[in-house]
Symmetry: D2
């Protein structure tokens, strides 16, 4: 079992990347292998139909596709921008959706988010479900959202035990679903 | 009365740009001035929190802001990608949302789309309403969606008289609302 | 200026009704008249196309229409059920949408919600915007959501001063918008 | 393999019920058993928290639960009202969500719709995904939407061969997913 994990934020010290790092450790602890890379490795030009030919597909797009192809499922940790999907995350989803065979088709995906807000970015994840589902992905019903994320970590660990427990349960439920 | 109009597609021969060109002509015909520029003029890097300082704001962002500041309302013609907002359009909305005072706040916005599909990109526009509304814009309830857009134009004109009539009515309703 | 206000919950001691009662007082305090009635006064059968004729329209539907007709705007306080619009609220919106002239058309509407959850029912309000907007209503961009609503009141007053301030500001912004 | 199927419309001659009848026949033809009943059999009062006790749960709610319990998956054929979920369908989803163990949890669900519009009610289905997913259901990514449904049938059969083919493929894909 190998899961491809990515956090959709480009800035240094991203809370979403911090959450992903913690989740990767938790996955390793239950014997799940993880393939991951920082989001900047998948930096892509803004989608442009004129670049959408096999010859002109950006190299980073193929890198993303190849890492994904080597795994059985995906975890996407995405910020919420303006109650919706971040432009950079949607841009990646859109580029990937242009490959054939469509990489999102039948893909099992778990969504997570971290946000300073009280809702933890949940509204953004509901928006992100739409294009992934439209591309044929099986987006896991459960989602993990971390509210007040700027105060949630200490030394890379979640400070609140109950929050950590919910995250571990979500990861375990997803992995069990993949194995069923 | 001056309206800032932009079509959110980067490719040459974009159907959304074609629709906008037609709408601009229709607006001029009823005495409304238009400020517009091709979407590539607003090419921006993927949003990155580390670039989000007054000193590092991309020049194209300020260009967009200044064109908008000179007008009373906006029309955004946006494609639909995977039943949702195109990455490049969301990236622009997100960048603009970082300026202060927030340019979307109290902005009157009309949304339109063109798509080869039967629904004309309507689902994407519903998704686009969310971040604009979250930023405080007044997004006009009526939206114009052009289905089968690849067959809809001839010499830049809408072939179907009824469709053209609906577009003209939508523009007129929006302008009347702005004047009320 | 008269606003028609309704809270979309049938149960006794509804938190949404409590929030509405508080808002009505706040509106009166700034000189705004309110027309209101408990939600059970608008109890309607489940929408059924076979009952949708002028002769068979439920009496409570006409009561709702008449109260609304006598006012310049509406406030709907709606619970969130399963991250979405409550069935009873949607049923009312749907019935009203069948009248001609369409009562939602050009209607200015403010949405509010109260919920025991941390997000205060915000996701449900985003879903409620859709049918109202589709019916031509101008749904105000700002929405007021009360999180942890089961602990928020004491003697009908909001305990937290900052929360009360936000509610008052939202009501004032809506009223100013109506007057502009 | 047994699937519980219901069409969410109360009126006689519902296009959604007609679509369901056709789908039931198609399922039988590929060896899938179906449990079904007309929507009026699940007529429920508007959800009211005061009725939400084990003693006061409506009889029709338990009938729905028992039929569902006897099957491995569900198909819901739902109209679209005002670009959203019909009130009566949401009311049913909400009532069911109050039972324990939660019947929607881990439920495999296929959504379909029929509508006179060009988009076939697709927007309504996207809204219906939200509460079902929030309740833990696995809503199948593919959805079948029948546009211009008022002209689509002749003697209970779909007139257009290509449309029928898409419906059959969707049902087959869902059944294969259930068997995998």
């Amino acid at each position: 079992m190998k899961i491809f994990c990515v956090a959709g934020s480009l800035r240094q010290g991203s809370l979403n990347q911090t959450l992903l790092n913690y989740a990767v450790q938790a996955l390793n602890d239950i014997g799940v292998d993880v393939v991951t890379a920082p989001f900047k490795d998948f930096d892509l030009p803004l989608y442009n139909g004129d670049l959408d030919t096999e010859k002109t597909h950006p190299e980073n797009l193929l890198k993303f596709k190849n890492l994904m192809a080597d795994t059985q499922a995906s975890i996407i940790v995405s910020p919420e921008y303006n109650h919706s999907i971040p432009g950079p995350v949607k841009n990646l989803v859109d580029w990937v959706s242009r490959l054939r065979p469509m990489p999102w088709k039948n893909r099992e995906v778990l969504l997570m988010s971290a946000s300073p807000s009280m809702s933890g970015g949940r509204m953004g994840l509901w928006q992100l479900r739409i294009p992934l589902t439209a591309c044929g992905a099986f987006v896991f019903p459960e989602m993990f959202c971390l509210p007040k994320a700027h105060e949630a970590f200490e030394g890379g660990r979640l400070k609140d035990a109950k929050t950590a427990e919910i995250l571990h349960a979500t990861l375990k439920n997803f992995v069990q679903h993949l194995q069923s």
